[in-house]
Symmetry: C2
Subunit: 198 residues, 2 copies
């Protein structure tokens, strides 16, 4: 294939991003190459800036340009209510939904024998510190409804049992606006178990 090295490398690097296969990486590369000044350079400069400006919040594990992050330093949010999520992507999803007015703890993953992730790989010490300092009333576990998520929730629940804070878990079930017939069996089972009298 007679493509210049720079173009080959651009396609190859783009195709390693999650969500982009080789085909969409080629389309993305072509679209950038067609507008070098209007699209490629601005994106390159932004990425260069973000690579140095964005850091991990030492309190919660969020990604932000300030440490502690905007959420941790927002005095209008309830610091006594900590929502534990697996990834910053989950934090973003909850922020988009605008349903949590407390703060977060981003674990950075779940316990997973397969991925070789143990308790020491999860970002929990800053949560334990915050609890030890007092002021945390409730920890909401918003982990995935997966085996790893459930294992991690169980482990955290035991770890927090002696601290006296309330530990809760988000409900699992039928998504709002979701039809039942497209859901997997596990979700349907969870929805039935989570049923409430009307």
């Amino acid at each position: 294939m007679m493509i210049s090295n720079d173009i080959e490398q651009l396609i190859s690097m783009l195709s390693r991003l999650p969500g982009l296969g080789p085909r969409s990486a080629r389309r993305a590369a072509l679209s950038l190459l067609r507008q070098p000044e209007a699209r490629m350079l601005p994106l390159a400069h932004l990425m260069e800036r973000a690579a140095t400006s964005v850091r991990t919040c030492s309190l919660c594990g969020n990604l932000d340009t300030i440490d502690p992050c905007h959420i941790c330093t927002d005095s209008t949010r309830d610091g006594g209510l900590v929502c534990v999520v697996e990834t910053v992507g989950d934090l973003w999803a909850l922020e988009r939904a605008g349903v949590h007015r407390g703060v977060y703890q981003v674990l950075g993953g779940t316990l997973s024998a397969l991925a070789g992730l143990g308790p020491e790989d999860l970002n929990v010490s800053s949560l334990l510190d915050r609890i030890a300092e007092g002021g945390v009333r409730e920890v909401i576990l918003a982990l995935g409804a997966t085996v790893e998520g459930a294992t991690t929730a169980h482990w955290l629940q035991e770890k927090l049992a002696s601290t006296g804070v309330v530990v809760s878990r988000v409900g699992h079930g039928v998504p709002m606006g979701g039809a039942l017939d497209v859901l997997d069996d596990g979700t349907l089972a969870a929805a039935l178990i989570a049923r409430r009298a009307l």
Copy 2:
């Protein structure tokens, strides 16, 4: 949504790339932000380099770091056989397939009343120059099997009629390894029309 400006902008710029929706743009941004040194900076630097190193070949319209491009300057390729494609992406597809040993002419689009693209917007003058200089035996039209592709092929065929070069068109029909029942009606019709006696 309490996300830093740099992160918001990164997601927004990535989501404007073809093939990336908001969801995959967020996943891509997160993956880059997690490995600023290992992934984001190298990609940023490569994009910066490519934005200045990659140019449009003045002979054929291909994108390359040299002008004329590697294909036009390759003496092992048949300069008398010119394959006309709509985009550089189509050129890449033919190069991956390794089926064309001649050179190319990249139109940069098709005639399209809807997109407001007329003959003056297509990169054809360098093809006409090459033909006028002699040495071009055959022009293969490898345009999409769309209304716009057919219109453009018809227009080019008329434009080249007086030049004396052979004008051919790639066959349309059932893709190799493709099942008939997943093809659209137009392809099936084209396949029937393009039938050959065995």
